[in-house]
Each structure stands twice: as structure tokens, then as C-alpha cells.
Symmetry: C2
Subunit: 317 residues, 2 copies
């Protein structure tokens, strides 16, 4: 059943002992939404925790605070934030499949796996939806504003991606006025690169395949590259956006070899090619301009698969 | 004499045949402000032009439209936008030294060279000041909103620099609602890099000097580097921000050899070192977190000079 933000706020007010789920390979949006929701529910006098996400990188360490669920916590209600499908549950969240009461999400491809679904695809970040829900209860304070700013800024590349709307900016302004260290968030997430990250970017430039006179770029980071450069998961954060910035590129594919025989693909598109349709052909999903999928096979096989999928959708247009 | 935005708007309403000046090595803020002001003055029924800036790069070609002054235009009033001192006049603007009627600017270091000065240093971009002035006359339409969005987004690195305020975001939201192609501006100015640019960045990483255990980075792009990489002025746009992003760096210096024996230095600082004070010691100026100066000498001499100036200000703190 679909719910508006107002209905979701009312429903949440009636729950006790809530557990909040984030998606696998968590980004700033899912982390920020979970923390902001957890703190807000506690401010309403409720017991609320976030399920520890074993995929979380050190980049988000400072945001969790005391929100992580202790062993043995038995929730009476389960809420997911920024999760489009049960396929995106992290490992320890899998026991909650078919048990999510409320899904709060901004993915148009949301599969409606929860009992109640508060999904607003026109929002750039799930954090904008959380802002609407939380301000049904009280004005946000700095503790809640900081994770919401993290959510909104990271999902828009700091207000640069085409998903950014006037509402995104207005919510950001309201959050900043609570006195949060937004400059610190910006510095950490958008203005800081390690030497290793810069070397990864340089490797990508050197090894990229271009098709259609440079309009399609296929970039890959293999396990061997990772080992040679000493790169960690954190060094690859949002690496898909890096390829998309090359002048003349309209369709940017970034392939990451997760383990031998398994690759994760990220697709960024402009000019009307629907990235979520392309990725759906390979079992994935996402947004019109940014989507992803995981395929079995080597990096070379992944390149062949995604090129095939791009050609299919190009021909259907 | 100082003027508020309201007073500047009133004063402008009383002028005829206006010429607008931009600063040398023009950036998006000075270009965007000039175009928005010119179009707005024309909407008020006035004759208004921008003085052609011989330093302008192709990056801004699409914004000028028909605003550039024809040969022989004789202004009755001269207005400068985003110019902190007469030392920043471009070559063909020099004949207007001591003749600027109104300076609209957001640099705290503005030297008050005009008869009337509308200076608001708390504004991230001069474009925010222009927005206030123009909305004294009428709501901005898309033609005026686009150059203002260019101004505001470029001077904040697309809302990522620490100068960004809630007002910056609110003005951006209002501009976006006029229906402008802000995604196109973002794509062009913040999400597009040429291969040459990426090679320049790679060269900088390879040749950077680090001091104070990596807290101070001195990077240089010599004339020889430019020639070897085939880099143009456009490939170096906002290159100072690139060095500042390296993890652990608190004071980032980017040196550009302009011609043999003359270097331009850009300084970005965090943690309380006032960049404008450092640059003032070498005859330059700017903001607390971003400033610049031009020094005579080789790249190596420029490095010695700026390190000396940094040490002076560090010791005074």
C-alpha cells in the first residue's frame, strides 16, 4: 500500500521498537536517512536502532553514533530507507526479507516489497523525503540536520547531478541554518581525494575503451588494478561519476570486478538513453540517468554484455 | 560612498547608456553578473553593453549573446561587477580607471575605487548581489536567471566551497524555477573534463612539492608543461581547487607560469590561515580561504616567495 509522507509520519508515531535497514554497499543517502530517522524516532520517545551494515566503509564511521542495534534487539517494526528492492538488502538484513513494514524510498524502480511504501521518485535524494516526514513532527535540529545534509548532498554529487531540484536546494538551506558543519561534510565527501584515488583515476583514463567516436566509454577497475594500487573500497566511492565527466562521453560504464567471475556495472547516461532500462536487461535497475547491475563473468565479458544491452535499448528507441 | 542593493537599484534606474566592466581572466561570476545586469537594464528600457574582455575563454562564449559593446559606444555611466581593485581591470578596460561610477562586488578586499560601492562580502558570489538588485525591479526570467545561475554556481564550485550559504541555495532554487537548463550549466562547468585537463591534473600530482608533513602542497604548471600537454587557458580553469582536494593538504598553492619570469599564484587555505593576508604580502588579495597574487620570477622563485609569505602569516597568528 502506498503512503504519503504525512501518512508515513502518522504510522511511525504509532510504532514501538523500530529497526531501520540500509542498503548493501551503503552510500551517504541510506546512511544519512537511517541516522536521521533513528534520532528523530528517539526524540519522539521511541526505542529505535539501525541494523549494523557489514558493508559500511570507514567514510561513514563518524555518522552512526550510538544508533546501531545491540545484539538481541527484537524489533516490533522494520523500516527500510533508500532500498529499491529486497535484492539490495545487505547480508545480515536478509532475515528481514518479507518483513519490512514501511519502505521509504525515492527510486522509481522500487519493487513495493514492503507492507507500506512511501516512494517519491521526483526527489533527488531519499533524504528529502525524510526531511518532509521528520518536519511533520518537529523542526530539525543540528543533530538530525547533519545526516540529512549528508544524504542530500551525496546523492546529488553536492547539487551538481541533473536530479537536483529547487526543493533539494531549499531543504539544504534549511538544514544549513541549524548550524551544522556543512563545509566539513563537503570537504570530506566532495573535496578530498587520496593519492590512491587519484592513481585509480589515472589508471582508468589510461585503460578506458571508447566506442561510437567517444560517445560511449567503458572503464574497468580489475582486482589486479586494486591490488597493484593498494586501493580499498573507499578509494572507489562514486567512481562511476568519474568516467561520465570525460568531454564527449554520453554513456559512461564503469565496471568493477568484485571477485573472479563477478562484476558490478554502473551506467551513467545523457541524451535520452534510459540507464535503468539498459541495466534491467542484465537484471539490475536504478534511475533514468544512473543505474547499475551485477553480472557473472570476467571484465571483458561484462564489457560485451553491457554493450549488447546498450545496443538493444538504442535500437528500441 | 557605500550603497545598499536597494540604493544601487535606484541609482541604476536613473542612468542611461551604461557600460559594464568584467575583471581580467574572467570567471563565471563576473561574466554571469555582467550579462544578467546588461539584460536587466535593457528590460528597463536602457541602452546597456558589456565591454569586450580580451581575456575571455571559449568556455563562456555561449553566454555573451548580443551584450558586447559595439565600437564607438560612448557610455554615460560605468559599472563594474566582481572587480575588487583597478589592478584587476583587463587591458581594454584600463581607460576607465578612475571613471567607474558603481562597483558591485563581494570581495572583502574591495578597494573602493568607484564613486559608489555596493559591496557585500558575506555573499558567496557577486551573482547573489545582482539577484537582490534585479529583483528590486522585477522577478527574474529564464534569460536573466541562466547567467545568474552560472555566476553563483561557478563561484561556489557548484555549492561545495565553504563560502556557500543558505542564501546561495535559496537564490539557486529561485533561479532554477524559471525553467533554465541548470543541468546543462552543471554538466559543462563541473562535470566535463577534457583529456588534456586530466593529463594536466596527472602532471600536477607527479610534480607536487609537499611541506609540513603534507599539510602544505606547492604545485606548478610551467609554460613547458603547457606546451608539452598542448594545454590551453581553458584546460586550467579553476585548477587551484584541484590541489586543495588532496587528503591531508591544508594550504594548497598552485603556481602558473604566465610568461618567462612572471608567475600567478593561487592559494587555498583551511584551518584559520588567512589566504588574503598571505597574498597581500606579495601584492595580491582575495578572500580568507582563497586568494591570489602575481609575482616576478621563475616557478622556483615563486615557490620560495609564497612559502616565505605563508611562514610570515603563520608566525603572526
Amino acid at each position: 500500500m502506498n503512503m504519503t509522507c504525512q501518512e508515513a509520519a502518522k504510522w511511525l508515531e504509532q510504532q514501538e521498537d523500530l529497526l531501520i535497514l540500509t542498503h548493501r554497499r551503503p552510500d551517504g543517502d541510506t546512511v544519512g536517512c537511517a541516522v536521521a530517522l533513528c534520532l528523530s524516532l528517539r526524540k519522539l520517545g521511541k526505542t529505535a536502532y539501525i541494523l549494523t551494515n557489514e558493508d559500511a566503509t570507514a567514510l561513514f564511521d563518524s555518522y552512526w553514533g550510538d544508533t546501531l542495534a545491540p545484539a538481541g534487539f527484537e524489533p516490533k517494526a522494520v523500516v527500510s530507507v533508500d532500498i529499491a528492492s529486497e535484492g539490495l538488502f545487505h547480508k545480515s538484513a536478509e532475515i528481514y526479507k518479507c518483513q519490512v513494514d514501511l519502505a521509504i524510498d525515492h527510486h522509481g524502480s522500487n519493487e513495493g516489497f514492503a507492507q507500506y511504501n512511501c516512494v517519491e521518485p521526483e526527489k533527488a535524494a531519499c533524504g528529502e523525503i525524510l526531511y518532509t516526514i521528520i518536519t511533520e513532527w518537529f523542526p530539525v535540529d543540528a543533530d538530525i540536520a547533519l545526516p540529512l545534509y549528508l544524504a542530500i548532498s551525496t546523492d546529488t554529487g553536492c547539487f551538481v547531478y541533473s536530479n537536483t531540484t529547487p526543493n533539494t536546494h531549499r531543504v539544504a538551506a534549511a538544514l544549513m541554518e541549524t548550524g551544522i558543519d556543512y563545509a566539513g561534510v563537503n570537504k570530506r565527501h566532495f573535496r578530498t581525494k587520496s593519492y590512491t584515488r587519484l592513481r585509480v583515476e589515472s589508471r582508468i583514463i589510461d585503460t578506458m575503451d571508447l566506442h561510437d567516436e567517444g560517445a560511449i566509454a567503458l572503464a574497468a577497475v580489475s582486482l589486479r588494478d586494486m591490488a597493484e594500487l593498494g586501493a580499498t573500497e573507499e578509494d572507489l566511492e562514486d567512481i562511476a561519476a568519474f568516467v561520465g565527466q570525460l568531454k564527449g562521453v554520453r554513456t559512461a560504464v564503469t565496471i568493477r570486478e568484485l571477485k573472479p567471475g563477478e562484476c558490478k556495472l554502473s551506467l551513467r547516461t545523457g541524451d535520452g538513453l534510459d540507464a535503468s532500462k539498459v541495466c534491467a536487461l542484465l537484471g539490475g535497475g536504478g534511475h533514468a540517468a544512473a543505474a547499475g547491475c551485477t553480472v557473472m563473468g570476467s571484465v571483458e565479458e561484462a564489457k560485451t554484455s553491457i554493450l549488447w544491452a546498450i545496443r538493444q535499448i538504442q535500437n528500441w528507441n
